[in-house]
């Protein structure tokens, strides 16, 4: 009985964690990380975000903005791999993520692709009416692969407000005006 309860709890925890993360990062990222020069892996789920939020100052304007933004977030997941040279990873390595981002609700608001430099950068937003429920940033440069997944309600004003303070550029939320292809 105890074993069953344990398994149920573990399964529930796994489902909850997976649900919070929403976008599942491919398992092969860990294999790629072994080849990477630098590997940054930040996983911040809800409780950790709330804990961090408690240590953000209300007096500092930047921290106060972050604190307000973090209140409605369920998780922030960042994986950034830097390689010594090009060709260490294949563009198909992040296809699993792109497939997930084709599901309903997700919109690609920015897409920049440079055939000359081999850069590929995309910003996806999960929208539900007028609310933003998530943000994914995919940057696939020849020597760098970065995936950012912010889960939870993001106030567009907060996102715009943070522009200039945390060097977050202002992103127009109308996807029609922001698809750019540099070929």
């Amino acid at each position: 009985m105890n074993k069953f309860a344990c398994i149920t709890c573990l399964a529930l925890a796994a489902v909850t964690s997976a649900a919070a993360q929403e976008i599942k990062l491919p398992a092969n990222l860990d294999q790629l990380a072994a080849k990477a020069k630098n590997d940054v892996n930040i996983t911040m789920d809800g409780p950790l975000l709330q804990l961090a939020g408690r240590f953000l100052s209300d007096k500092d304007p930047d921290e106060a903005r972050v604190k307000r933004m973090v209140t409605n977030l369920k998780g922030i997941y960042v994986r950034s791999l830097e390689f010594d040279g090009p060709g260490e990873y294949q563009p198909s390595d992040i296809d699993q993520i792109r497939v997930q981002l084709k599901s309903p609700g997700w919109t690609r608001v920015v897409g920049v692709r440079s055939k000359k430099d081999g850069d590929n950068a995309e910003v996806f937003l999960k929208t539900d009416g007028s609310t933003i429920g998530g943000l994914v940033v995919l940057v696939a440069d020849p020597t760098e692969l970065t995936i950012v997944n912010i889960v939870g309600q993001i106030n567009p004003e907060d996102l715009r407000d943070l522009g200039g303070h945390f060097h977050i550029p202002q992103i127009e939320l109308d996807p029609k005006n922001n698809k750019k292809e540099d070929r």
Partner: protein, 101 residues
């Protein structure tokens, strides 16, 4: 001698103690002394235990606060790093978009 005197004399007559009277008195005195010592020791032990409990509690609470503080600061640093990476990447994308335009 009147009856009253006789009664008084009878009442106040010298009676020899029982053979073990002295040892019984000494034993009772020793027992009382031992009980007093035990009570005193118990009081001291209770006071020391209470003091140890209070000190442990205060130390535990302090340690918990320190741990919580450390975890909170670490979480804050990670959060700020995550946001800085996000903003740097968004900045790069913005630059690329601007270049295209």
């Amino acid at each position: 001698m009147d009856p009253l005197e006789q009664e008084l004399k009878a009442a106040l007559r010298k009676i020899d103690p029982s053979p073990f009277f002295e040892s019984k008195v000494l034993a009772a005195a020793n027992r009382q002394a031992r009980e007093r010592k035990t009570t005193l020791r118990m009081r001291w032990a209770t006071a020391i235990a209470a003091m140890v409990l209070v000190v442990t509690g205060v130390f535990w609470q302090h340690q918990r606060t320190v741990d919580e503080q450390a975890r909170g600061q670490a979480a804050k640093a990670r959060l700020m790093l995550a946001l800085q990476i996000t903003s740097a990447k968004l900045d790069e994308i913005q630059e690329k978009v601007d270049r295209v335009q």
